[in-house]
Subunit: 349 residues, 3 copies
């Protein structure tokens, strides 16, 4: 496929600088780009590469420097790159339906791709253009919207509701039982998990995640529109995650926690059960959050604390062994002073 | 289904307060309950909701306050709730046998539910009323007790022994090789893992866990009766976990570690290999336990330490930047004192 | 199977001490060994068990003590044990081919074992003696070398290249999309992941890992020869891991990080994106590495620091509450001195 630079600029709403008739054959990262390619610079730090790249054109910030090379200038170069990238990577061709594992009472939308070895159970409704790869399991009475893609060997337990344009990667488990037991003497008695899970539109879930169903019938663990979840993330029963959150890999969110909109949790963060992370908050990797955070918080560390305070703590901690040394010296000086004073006074008790 | 309040009280061994003939249609959480429902208050903190709920009856502590609403009074309201919940959620209907993937020499008990795309390999023995969902793999020479349920796409490697009433959720892997290599120059030579895994009765394992087999033939990684394991937990080769432990999500237990009975490990805890966690111990989320703990320990932090000491450390750490400030002030004062002293003495060397 | 002690010594290039004609029936760990078994002592700490074990012969260090029992003496007893172990555990018998799920254009090598419910997609090339267990998914245009074994329900996305003698355990996902989104207002726009994954020869990957594909076409997330990865490990897009690394369970490696050769990362370690871990470095369990490390580093803690410094910090931290106490005492003394001084001077302002 080829597009002119002007066609690409029009497609993303940007401006051409240089030769709009330039024919572009590929999108490439800046160090690898060849003649005929378009690349991008999203970070001003890399503007020095502008004249070095072999690319024929570069997507740059509308505020960035010009030069000898043709440019596509836009306010959001990284977004423009992501949009243009799709032109060269259309969705894959669809598979014919393999009806072998569709049980009774399944309702299918238009143009489904249900691969061999996928299972769809009784009472489930599936929207248009849904792709279920081999080994996918969708339990009873689920509802999937349009343009849902579920990759091989993911398992969706019964009663799950999935919006449109949702992607779920391989090995992810949606709707297994939460971790709830009532003590019975020294043993544990299982709490039945009769609730469900809701994933709203435009949610994406990475590989090998686990999202538990809610405890009681009529309630759901709930992940709202546009939230993106990386790999190996644990979401406990009755958790609510707001819109447009980013949850990086290996995060664990305890039962009944509430994550508001636009929250970012770094890799391996732990969030205790029953707390609230306020709107727009972020947590650095490995943070351990055991108390609710107000909106706009930015925390680090375990136990987590606001970033400025935590950075001061980390800095102080690294100087702590020296403090002990200085402290011993001061104790010695003070003792010398005290003894000197006693001598001055002629203390002889 | 409907039950009278008296029938429910008799079922759990509790007392009726108010109208024993009240007809109960559903079990619900307190904020959602409607007329006709029974709900519960397990924590005295929520007793204020007693008069506000729309529920027709409430399961409460035998010591709790009474009021206008009918009650089921019992010493263990949360357990009673869990027991009553089961009345409304009988086990799901069984599937007819799909014999396609049963290899030779498999012995099946009564009323099996082996779903399409499940695989059971040579020499495996399966008890009564076992449910193997689609995509489940059970390797050669395994033994499964009665009433075992394995959810879609879990994999049980060869030689695994599973007791009765064991539940294993989707994506969990039992019996894969442990992480063992002998250095061979600068390379690594694989240690064959010829041992196995034993899960005793009433064990429950969440989704996407990994439990490694033991190294040598005749030995097993061993999880004892009644222990409950959450999602994404790693259990290394030759680990032993005692009875009635609770292992929360994303815990990692190093090879040959020994967890005694009634231990609780919070989310994301790490336990080093070859150590022992004594009977009845607990560890808070993200604790990093690198040394054996005596019975009844309660630890926090990484490296883990007893909770009282660790809380004092955390508190001291948060005040550490101030300590540096106060320390500098004290150094200045001390210097002033020392100089004053020299002046007093007329030091002029 | 039986071998004489001399045959075993010849096989591993060691020396016989005692009776070379001794017939060995089994390899066993030292506490469990019976008459007829050979066992090993790799750690001098256990040499005291030499005379207590029931084993007929012991693999020991060429520098170790002798005694009444026959020995196989070698410079590397643990490696010799691992090598001898293989004699008693030959590779399992091969399954006949089940061609059901082979799509068009798949090229198979010699003696494949493709089990029922495995899927191999268009354009994939498979080497000799490859074993694909039930539920394995191999996407389009992959290349697998010789003697590759993939355990049940692992998923290999399209375009993955796998060398020879690679083992991948159950539930692992290779080549799913990395976590990359361009902000679009307050929402996120998905970055297409058109790159791939390369696993070189002799790589072993445990169960339920996730290894993301690279972002752009022509680039790969890359794991080099001989590296061993434990269970539940996350490897982000465009990561490079060098040769002969050991990555213990639940490690997370952020996108575009570079791990050089011979690096060891302990359990639950987190590595930030875009940093380099130098050749031969190690990190203790739960370390949080957010900055590049030079070759030969050994770090602990979160944030990670060199082990000596971090141990001093941990020690200082544990004594910090006492420091506060001593500090308060010193402040009191200093105040007394200051007041004494004022009295001496007759300060009365």
């Amino acid at each position: 496929m080829e597009k002119t630079l002007r066609e690409l600029a029009d497609f993303v709403g940007g401006e051409v600088y240089g030769d709009g008739d330039l024919r572009i054959k590929r999108v490439s990262p800046i160090e690898q780009a060849l003649v005929g390619d378009i690349t991008f610079i999203a970070n001003p730090r890399y503007e020095k590469l502008l004249e070095q790249t072999n690319a024929s054109a570069v997507i740059v910030s509308a505020q960035g420097p010009k030069g000898k090379k043709s440019q596509l200038r836009t306010d959001q170069p990284y977004l423009a790159f992501a949009q243009i990238q799709r032109l060269w990577h259309p969705p894959p061709a669809r598979s014919p339906l393999d009806p072998g594992q569709l049980r009774d009472g399944v309702k299918l939308g238009k143009d489904p791709s249900i691969y061999p070895n996928a299972t769809v159970c009784e009472g489930t409704t599936i929207g248009d253009r849904v792709v279920l790869h081999p080994g996918v399991y969708v339990g009873e009475n689920c509802r999937l919207g349009d343009d849902v893609t579920i990759f091989p060997n993911a398992a969706i337990y019964s009663g799950t509701t999935i919006g449109s344009r949702v992607t779920i990667h391989s090995g992810t488990v949606i709707g297994s039982d939460g971790f709830g037991y009532a003590p019975e003497g020294t043993r544990y008695y299982k709490i039945i998990h009769a609730g469900s899970v809701v994933l709203e539109d435009d949610v994406e879930i990475g590989a090998n995640c686990t999202i538990d169903r809610a405890v009681t019938e009529g309630r759901s663990t709930w992940i709202r529109r546009g939230t993106k979840i990386d790999n190996l993330v644990q979401v406990g029963h009755n958790v609510e995650i707001g819109e447009d959150c980013l949850i990086v890999s290996q995060v664990a969110i305890g039962g009944s926690a509430r994550i508001e909109n636009h929250v970012t949790l770094g890799g391996q963060v732990g969030v205790a059960g029953h707390i609230t992370i306020g709107h727009g908050s972020s947590a650095g990797g490995q943070a351990g959050i055991s108390k609710s955070l107000p909106s706009g918080s930015f925390v680090l560390g375990s136990p987590a604390a606001p970033v400025r305070r935590k950075r001061r703590e980390f800095a102080a901690l690294s100087r702590l062994p020296d403090l002990f040394q200085r402290f011993r010296e001061m104790e010695a000086k003070l003792k010398a002073l005290e003894e000197g004073k006693r001598e001055d006074r002629g203390d002889e008790r």
